[in-house]
């Protein structure tokens, strides 16, 4: 590198640093105070990226969904099948499966069944309503069970106006930690449980599960738009028609704030 280039390099570096500090100065109050995808190990050392146990030989990630559905009128979950029927459960389960299948178009994620065919366990069912949250009566960690669960009938105190769903991710900061009935953690930063809780229709929001579950993450949308199989397009159209039947004041479009957590 000659003298001129070096001078240019130093100038560029200084400029970049100034820009970075300016961004830090102006952007930091809006951004959050800490990077939350990392866990500082209890034993000290560098922050570890949070992730599931994906070591070779590890058991597939357990996953299930709760068949406990809100019994509300109008229905909280709009399906083509009649409410409360086995066909409705099958339809919801098919939708969940399709939501996972969207990730096939995203490289580098564990949820991509093509890249990691054995990473995910079979999608199971549970009839437990509070499979995603602690037992509100006994206050025990029933929801922390090491099974990644999707629940539709949740009454968590965390739900306030406008919050339709959230994901709670339990992360250990050391090996051999036991939480609830989840298996002991293997390493610091391990996600021992990640559950998605969806609110009941407390706020009279008319949504279809199809739309909620097919809302792709920012990462998937920006890299390659998910491809919907034809039957799902038809189902989505039907869901839109059903949503159109909702009172005008309750029509809301769910929005995913940012990307999903990639295990």
């Amino acid at each position: 590198m000659n003298h001129k280039s070096r001078r240019h390099f130093v100038r560029s570096l200084a400029l970049a640093t100034i820009f970075a500090f300016l961004f830090q100065w102006t952007g930091a109050p809006m951004a959050n105070a800490y990077v939350r995808d990392f866990t500082v190990p209890a034993a000290g050392g560098c922050p570890q990226p949070q992730h599931q146990n994906i070591a070779i030989g590890a058991v597939p990630l357990a996953r299930q969904w709760s068949t406990s559905l809100p019994n509300t009128n109008p229905a909280a979950i709009v399906t083509t099948a009649a409410q409360g029927t086995p066909a409705q459960l099958n339809e919801i389960e098919a939708t969940i499966q399709q939501a996972y299948a969207i990730w096939v178009g995203v490289s580098g994620t564990l949820v991509n069944a093509n890249s990691f065919p054995n990473a995910l366990g079979t999608l199971g069912r549970t009839a437990t309503q509070n499979a995603c949250s602690p037992d509100p009566v006994n206050g025990v960690q029933t929801g922390v069970d090491g099974i990644n669960t999707i629940c539709f009938n949740q009454t968590s105190a965390a739900f306030t106006t406008g919050v339709l769903s959230f994901t709670r991710i339990m992360v250990a900061d050391a090996p051999s930690q036991v939480f609830g009935s989840a298996p002991p953690s293997i390493f610091a930063g391990q996600i021992v449980d990640a559950d998605i809780s969806m609110a009941r229709t407390r706020w009279d929001l008319c949504l279809s599960v199809t739309v909620i579950l097919f809302t792709p993450s920012r990462s998937s949308a920006s890299s390659s738009p998910p491809t919907w199989p034809a039957p799902l397009r038809a189902r989505a159209a039907q869901a839109r028609r059903l949503r159109a039947q909702c009172p005008r004041s309750t029509q809301t479009s769910p929005r995913a704030s940012g990307r999903s957590h990639t295990p």
Partner: protein
């Protein structure tokens, strides 16, 4: 050619920093609420300063209880000191991480739309209406020192299912006085409406 490469290096530095500092709101689904809807839903709207954070276990769940000193009441009549409960936090060896749940730094000034937590067992503790939608961070304009606000949701692109695109919505860089005027006007309008 080298200078061009170097310029790219500097640009990549900036982008890398921008990405590094981007907020990590994820996998939380919110119903889009207008400012009028937020005002209507909230029991209290306050301009407050964070004074502390504490993680507690409650009903088998980790919560972060953030204390605020109320500087000004815009709606309702909050006491001088309030505590706001948000799900998630770090307690002992475990971190309960809930993407999209607002967190606050000591000394940070915010405008918060608050409502009682939905569970009766929580006995009326306060939580934030629509989480990041009901959270407005205050910063000062570097030139004029004017206080300005940005809604938490304004810094994350949100997915619009109808157009299947991500768009940045929310209030960004408004003067604090403007937000206050809009909130008060929305509340007045709501009261007038039978």
């Amino acid at each position: 050619m080298k200078p061009a490469l170097i310029d790219l290096t500097s640009i990549s530095f900036v982008i890398a920093f921008a990405l590094l500092l981007s907020p990590l709101a994820q996998s939380t689904t919110l119903a889009p609420l207008s400012l009028a809807q937020l005002t209507s839903s909230a029991a209290n709207v306050v301009h407050a300063e964070c004074t502390g954070n504490q993680a507690v276990w409650r009903d088998g769940e980790i919560w972060t209880v953030t204390s605020f000193r109320v500087l000004e009441n815009w709606k309702g009549n909050s006491p001088e000191e309030i505590q706001v409960w948000m799900i998630g936090g770090r307690a002992g060896a475990v971190t309960s991480y809930v993407p999209g749940a607002p967190r606050f730094r000591i000394g940070e000034e915010t405008v918060l739309f608050l409502e009682p937590a939905s569970s009766r067992s929580f006995g009326g503790v306060l939580s934030i209406t629509a989480w990041s939608e009901g959270t407005f961070r205050i910063h000062r304009d570097p030139r004029t020192y004017e206080m300005r606000v940005t809604q938490d949701t304004a810094i994350t692109p949100n997915f619009d299912p109808s157009s299947r695109t991500f768009r940045e919505t929310g209030i960004r860089n408004w003067p604090l006085a403007k937000l206050k005027a809009r909130v008060i006007a929305a509340e007045s309008s709501r009261r007038r409406t039978p």
